[in-house]
């Protein structure tokens, strides 16, 4: 990705837009919804929000024009230049112009207005063209884009978040009590420390909490402490669960109804996906914890006092689930915050406690503090 020279960006998170006039190629409401959808693409991965105004000067003025239209960049009739836009700033800056000699369409039979608008609004927010052919900000229009599964590329997300940062935690999260307006940095040796999720990753153990994670290698006593976004900018903070499928070198991260797949620091394309694609019933709104049982090639998903078993080979849920956690993991639960596997034991976290569980003997072998791995 590239930003404009001098990195111009909007110094506020709430922006206004105005559709100054309309193309006759599409019904007005189709133009309205294409523009709204195109702005939402960026809204979903940044703290930015957009609202429409109908008069006066908006931050992003949207016009359809042909040939010479008052700025020094004439349009050129059908084909070739489809539209252009200006980087953030006052006046014409931030505005987007669309060549009305094109045939604008809702699908890809002509020039798709949503796709071109989403690209131009990338400029309006401060992104230049990207060399990545997969990126929305690649300069050449790709008529074969599958609109149904359209997604920003990682390059686009990294780019826009380099200007505005990731979105705040989603509003439908349970609101966590916080003493002060600024998110706190969790204290590693706080005896009351609870964790969001724990997973292994290529031989290390990652302990996630709010916007950060501790990274523990078995070679060092003390863990490193990092911002999640410094490794995975597009991942949410305050995740629910995480587990590693070691045989595929993939870590799955869960938050709410969505889950992501990462390989090292690369978020895999095609994510996030909905958790219901894994076979959960609609009543499941989030996952509490998950762990991959390597010998059995099964993944256990813990949700409140129940758990599901997922067959990683068949890529489907085993029949006969959910079951009560306490039935098959005596001593564990009723609720689990996080779980991971080490030395053949499952380590279950609940609040500030941690249980070492022997899956073969089916019994808790030790009760520990949640931060016992940090050598406080």
């Amino acid at each position: 990705f590239r930003t404009f020279p001098g990195m111009p960006k909007w110094r506020k998170t709430h922006l206004t837009y105005r559709i100054v006039n309309y193309t006759l190629d599409l019904p007005r409401d189709a133009v309205d919804s294409a523009i709204e959808k195109a702005l939402k693409v960026w809204e979903e991965v940044t703290p930015l929000t957009f609202s429409r105004i109908y008069e006066r000067e908006a931050d992003i003025m949207i016009t359809f024009a042909v040939r010479n239209h008052g700025d020094f960049f004439d349009f050129d009739g059908p084909g070739k230049v489809l539209a252009h836009a200006y980087p953030p700033g006052p006046g014409i800056n931030g505005d987007a112009h669309f060549d009305d000699d094109e045939q604008w369409t809702k699908d890809t039979s002509g020039t798709n207005l949503f796709l071109v608008a989403a690209h131009e609004f990338g400029h309006s927010l401060g992104l230049e063209h990207s060399k990545n052919p997969e990126a929305l900000m690649y300069p050449v229009y790709n008529s074969s884009t599958d609109l149904a599964s359209f997604r920003l590329s990682q390059d686009d997300v990294t780019g826009i978040q380099s200007l505005y940062g990731p979105p705040p935690a989603s509003p439908d999260d349970p609101v966590k009590p916080t003493e002060s307006a600024r998110p706190q940095t969790p204290a590693m040796c706080d005896p009351t420390l609870s964790l969001d999720a724990v997973t292994t990753l290529r031989g290390e153990i990652l302990f996630f909490k709010d916007r950060h994670f501790w990274r523990k290698s078995l070679r060092t006593l003390k863990p490193g402490f990092y911002l999640i976004s410094s490794f995975w900018p597009s991942l949410p903070s305050g995740m629910d669960a995480a587990y590693e499928v070691t045989s595929r070198d993939i870590v799955f991260i869960f938050k709410g109804k969505q889950f992501w797949a990462v390989r090292g620091s690369e978020v895999q394309a095609g994510y996030p996906r909905g958790i219901h694609t894994l076979g959960f019933p609609p009543s499941v709104k989030k996952i509490d914890a998950a762990i991959f049982d390597k010998p059995k090639k099964k993944t256990y998903f813990f949700v409140e006092d129940k758990y599901w078993r997922f067959d990683e080979k068949k890529q489907s849920m085993d029949p006969g689930f959910p079951r009560q956690i306490v039935e098959d993991f005596p001593g564990v639960g009723p609720k689990v915050d996080a779980v991971f596997e080490a030395f053949g034991f499952f380590y279950f976290f609940s609040g500030s406690s941690q249980l070492e569980f022997d899956p073969n003997a089916k019994k808790v072998t030790r009760i520990l503090k949640s931060n016992s791995w940090f050598h406080c």
């Binding site: 060549d99 300069p139 050449v140």
Partner: protein
Amino acid sequence: HPLNGAARDEEDSMDLVQHYLEDYYNLAKDAKQFAKRKDSSPVVKKIQEMQKFLGLKVTGKLDSDTLQVMHKPRCGVPDIRE
């Protein structure tokens, strides 16, 4: 479109190439006829820059892939500016 006469095509292409390199890759405007200078090093350099940016094979020549991309619809914001 049905094929035009070849000579006409050639002329059209040179126009398109010149404008493409001037508008998006900051080729300096020059009064000399573009067809005569298309093999000159400044123009070759710009063609290479464009091919590199757009992920094409970097040949410095106006091969068919390069011409094909230049004909594709695109955004009017320059790829490389001063």
